[in-house]
Symmetry: C2
Amino acid sequence: MLDELKIIASEVDKTLREDEFPENILPNYLKEAVIDYPTRGGKRLRPAVAMWTCGLFSQKPETALLPACAIEIFHTWTLVHDDIIDDDPTRRGKPSSHESLKTTSKELFKAEEKDADQFGKSFAILTGDLQQAWAMSLLMKASGKTLTSELTLCIMDRMINHLYPRLLSGEAIDVEFEHRPLDDISEEEILTMLRWKTGVLLQFAAETGAIIGLNTPNYRLDSVKSAGEFALEAGLAFQLQDDILGVYAQEEEWGKPVGNDIRTRKVTLLIKKALELSTGEERIHLTNCLGNADMTESDLERARDIIRECGALSAIEEMAKECIEKAKESLLQLQDNKYRQLLDELADFLIQRKF
Amino acid sequence: MLDELKIIASEVDKTLREDEFPENILPNYLKEAVIDYPTRGGKRLRPAVAMWTCGLFSQKPETALLPACAIEIFHTWTLVHDDIIDDDPTRRGKPSSHESLKTTSKELFKAEEKDADQFGKSFAILTGDLQQAWAMSLLMKASGKTLTSELTLCIMDRMINHLYPRLLSGEAIDVEFEHRPLDDISEEEILTMLRWKTGVLLQFAAETGAIIGLNTPNYRLDSVKSAGEFALEAGLAFQLQDDILGVYAQEEEWGKPVGNDIRTRKVTLLIKKALELSTGEERIHLTNCLGNADMTESDLERARDIIRECGALSAIEEMAKECIEKAKESLLQLQDNKYRQLLDELADFLIQRKF
């Protein structure tokens, strides 16, 4: 599966590198910012889901290559705007888009700190806006080539009227969480946020792969829905595993600061569960760590023990496993072939990964 | 013409008010932010250009109503993101999107100033992102109703691959100007920025109205190009007039602080010209006023006199008139009827307006 995933990644990389959409963008550093994240590599999970789902129904995964690239760029723009919103300085171990554009303004225009900061964020807003157009552009390129115009409009309609409002509402709810007391936020709300912010894009990838594979402009078919359910549940498992890794990963492997979810009081199901299950001094320690930027390594180590010992860790691991089982059940509704096998292995991979 | 413009405005208002795209957005205050600017009214110049151009070729302006609404919402999202970028506190005399969302976070979550500021900007980024989808959604709604899917895809292609990169490059160049010395910026560059940032959207409105009126998916036809040229030149005149009003308008009529272009050292052709034509103490006074937030009313009055007396004001007025003449020449290439007359009067209106 990992070898097949690498093939998808290299096809996606090649298509994005050769695509001419960014060519007309000025100034040059804005063009480079638009290309930046998409050329930082990555596993290209979303394109793989789209192409393998397409392959499952048609044996021809490459029919979905351009839409898969569109989905990857769609994912990219949400990351660029998300990084501004979270004021995150890094992405995949390199400076985030607004940080890198901030540096540009210092180098090119000798901008001072505050101006440079505003410049970086302004240009990163425009970068994400252009990537929204780029995603659409890739999808439209498929029209008349691998897709009929009817199918293209159907996918676009789903992207615009279904994916956009849900994904951005999920993002919005996540931002809102930061401003609300944790006790006021229910598990149900956190699950809805995860489904919308992360799950719905994977679901869209699978459903779109399915309607392309079936060559039918109909997102309501049972087999299309099953493919979507698979990806939605697998995405949820992925996110839960991410929350676990955010606290328990080895920093060298994880590639970003472990414990930041606690330091910044990120609202995750793992933390919510730990607050629910822990009591007395343990709960007080956890509460003191949350949102505490000065938390020491030994504070974090104790928080890890508390989250494990109160049963929150195993509860979330169990929940992730259940999601994967649900995902696999949905997959079993569909025909068995090489591509179903690849998707099945991908689901396992999502919760086995250690970094 | 003004009465006809009001009819367009009320049709656009009604369509936007009744459109169900915003319904699925959560939280509620994000949904309200998405609807906010579009329901603040306005002259709806861009929809009028699209619908009258459509009428010019087909006698049926209403065929272009949904695409015209899409263009209006497209304009809206650029304003929302632009207001964040310029950190502009107001829009049409009310709080700008990020300001109003900042207030929301203070009211709902008791957020403190810095957090509220970040919250307001974050949600305004998402507001503009959702409006981008809304614009597309309106355009796609026309497919199968007033437009064929071929024509819809053609308009979408133009929007995505032509309008987006140019308009956002224009916006980017304008932001960049703030960070460069005025002496390094040429008139040519300012004109390119104006064409891209403001002109290209009006051009798109006219061209799109034309291809809908002609019912042909071909932006390269001479008559489509003439309609586009008309709108591009009229848009340029509009922008030049705006630059003049920014310095010389009556504040009560203008509705925003007059002189801000000088106070914030905005790069306009009027200011560039004045620096080129003035000398000695006059030039020094102007230079001192530029970017000087503490400029007094009498400083501003003197700056006005200098800009007038050095000939910059009349040079820009002349330039605006030439644009209108070019616009009208392009219009003369097209058939004469009620809608051509309306467009002709609209062009005059753009440079006659006093506020």
